[in-house]
């Protein structure tokens, strides 16, 4: 078992990936990035030198690398109280001024938050009017998000969350079970566009009324969080909303004063200044 990787070795990996493939992990939070690299080396039985060689010589390997380096653990309706607030206050507030609006899920991973949102909008009876864009850096996880298919063993926690969310139906109304998988109704994702997009290096591509980026920026250092918040600021209409993870904070970012806190508890912010 590999116990540790030197910072110099981590820097060699991120520099190579940046130079050769254009993905920039140099400002990722060190401790989790290191754990991901140790995990990758163990899974592939590689040394650091072996990994560098593979990245150098096998361009196709970058897809696997991306899939391993990014954390793809999420749930449907994670933090049910957040989803209740979204349904009962934030979305009604947006609807007061916009009959139709746009939502961005930045770093959507395997799509659980997108499916949660689609269910929420359907239960509010407004699904037809809302356009959703869901992005991730990792193409293989985006494929999974498009499938909206999850191991049935995950459904226990997902169902508990849905019950705490106090949805109008049953979570089982939205999927069918087949060979140990919960396959969600594709109709839910009719208005969702999935897009491969790197939050770190990508250009701002549209404007939105609501951006969800929960438990994504925790993998970045503060300098990078600061830069990404600038992009979110630019990607939001004035008075648009931004939701981050319940244990994240934006208070040290340069652009923090262009937002007001709508909910400190659920970490919903609103853009008030261009």
């Amino acid at each position: 078992m590999i116990q540790d990787i030197d910072i110099t070795d981590l820097k060699k990996i991120t520099s190579l990936v940046q130079a050769k493939y254009g993905y920039d992990f140099r400002d990722y939070a060190m401790s989790s990035f290191k754990r991901r690299m140790i995990r990758l080396l163990e899974m592939k039985s590689l040394t650091t030198e072996g990994l560098l060689k593979k990245l150098n010589e096998q361009p196709a390997f970058i897809t696997e690398f991306l899939d391993e380096v990014t954390v793809n653990v999420t749930e449907l309706f994670r933090d049910p109280s957040f989803w209740r607030l979204l349904r009962d206050e934030t979305i009604p507030a947006i609807l007061m001024n916009n009959k139709e609006f746009r939502i961005l899920h930045a770093g959507c991973s395997s799509g659980e938050e997108v499916v949660s949102m689609a269910i929420l909008l359907k239960e509010m009876g407004i699904a037809e009017r809302i356009q959703i864009t869901a992005t991730d850096i990792d193409p293989s996880i985006l494929d999974k998000a498009v499938q909206a298919t999850y191991p049935i063993k995950n459904m226990e926690v997902n169902e508990k969350n849905y019950i705490r969310f106090q949805g109008t139906g049953k979570i089982s109304d939205y999927y069918r079970e087949d060979k140990g998988l919960a396959i969600f109704n594709k109709e839910l994702l009719k208005n969702v566009t999935f897009k491969k997009y790197d939050l770190v290096t990508g250009e701002v591509f549209n404007k939105f009324d609501l951006i969800l980026c929960r438990n994504v920026m925790i993998y970045f250092n503060q300098a990078l969080q600061n830069e990404v918040l600038k992009k979110f600021h630019e990607s939001l209409f004035k008075y648009g909303y931004l939701a981050i993870g319940s244990k994240e904070s934006l208070m040290w970012c340069e652009y923090a004063n262009r937002f007001i806190v709508v909910s400190e508890e659920e970490k919903i912010y609103r853009k008030i200044k261009d």
Binding site: R35, V73, N215, Q222, Q225, G245, S246
Partner: protein, 203 residues
């Protein structure tokens, strides 16, 4: 006359605990003086869906502030930190926390191993690791990392634990410097604090 032979320059205390550790945690926090100088970082297994109540319950007993850190929060002296539910808590070079939602480790998130190992990496021999009662093996690898980096390792005396799986797993895996009852852990921490204050008296 000091009971424990502590060297200089400790920077943090990390505590891991699971089933049966709550009483011990409460006793320790209730006994720590308001001028306890080091940060106390706790990774405790807890109910995932209960976001509230735990910090409040611990705050009632503690003279020191008890907080759940947000991502990238700076680690301060004289503060007790509790890993938030459903997140792993790591310590980063530069003396701040980071959170993550990676897979569970040892069926746990927060995992004690992650907090202890990242603390060992950052604080090296300037760290005290304490592992209390618990029903699984989480924390053992973290204690090994602390020992390997030269830090001091302490486990709760297994006979005093409600469930002794966790301290016993650590004892089997690595060198444990002190096996102590909760009362002795309190004495140990108070002595650590006196030592810290003595060192920093003239500076």
């Amino acid at each position: 006359m000091p009971k424990f032979n502590l060297h200089n320059g400790f920077r943090a205390v990390v505590i891991g605990g699971s089933a049966g550790s709550f009483q011990g945690i409460v006793k320790i926090l209730a006994a720590l003086p308001q001028d306890f100088q080091l940060p106390v970082i706790m990774a405790l297994h807890r109910l995932k869906h209960v976001r509230h109540g735990f910090v409040e319950a611990l705050s009632l007993k503690s003279a020191l502030p008890v907080v759940e850190p947000v991502d990238k929060e700076t680690i301060r002296k004289s503060t007790v930190y509790l890993a938030p539910s459903n997140y792993h808590l790591s310590i980063e070079l530069g003396n701040y926390f980071s959170l993550s939602t990676e897979d569970m480790v040892n069926n746990s998130r927060p995992a004690i191993d992650i907090t202890l190992s990242s603390a060992a990496y950052v604080y090296r021999n300037k760290l005290v690791g304490i592992l209390l009662s618990g029903a699984n093996r989480d924390g053992g690898m973290g204690m090994k990392n602390i020992h390997d980096k030269g830090g001091v390792t302490v486990v709760q005396e297994p006979t005093e634990c409600l469930i002794d799986t966790m301290p016993k797993a650590a004892l089997a895996l690595t060198t444990i410097d002190h096996t102590l009852k909760v009362e002795e852990i309190i004495t140990f921490l108070k002595e650590l604090n006196q030592q810290y204050k003595h060192e920093h008296r003239t500076t």
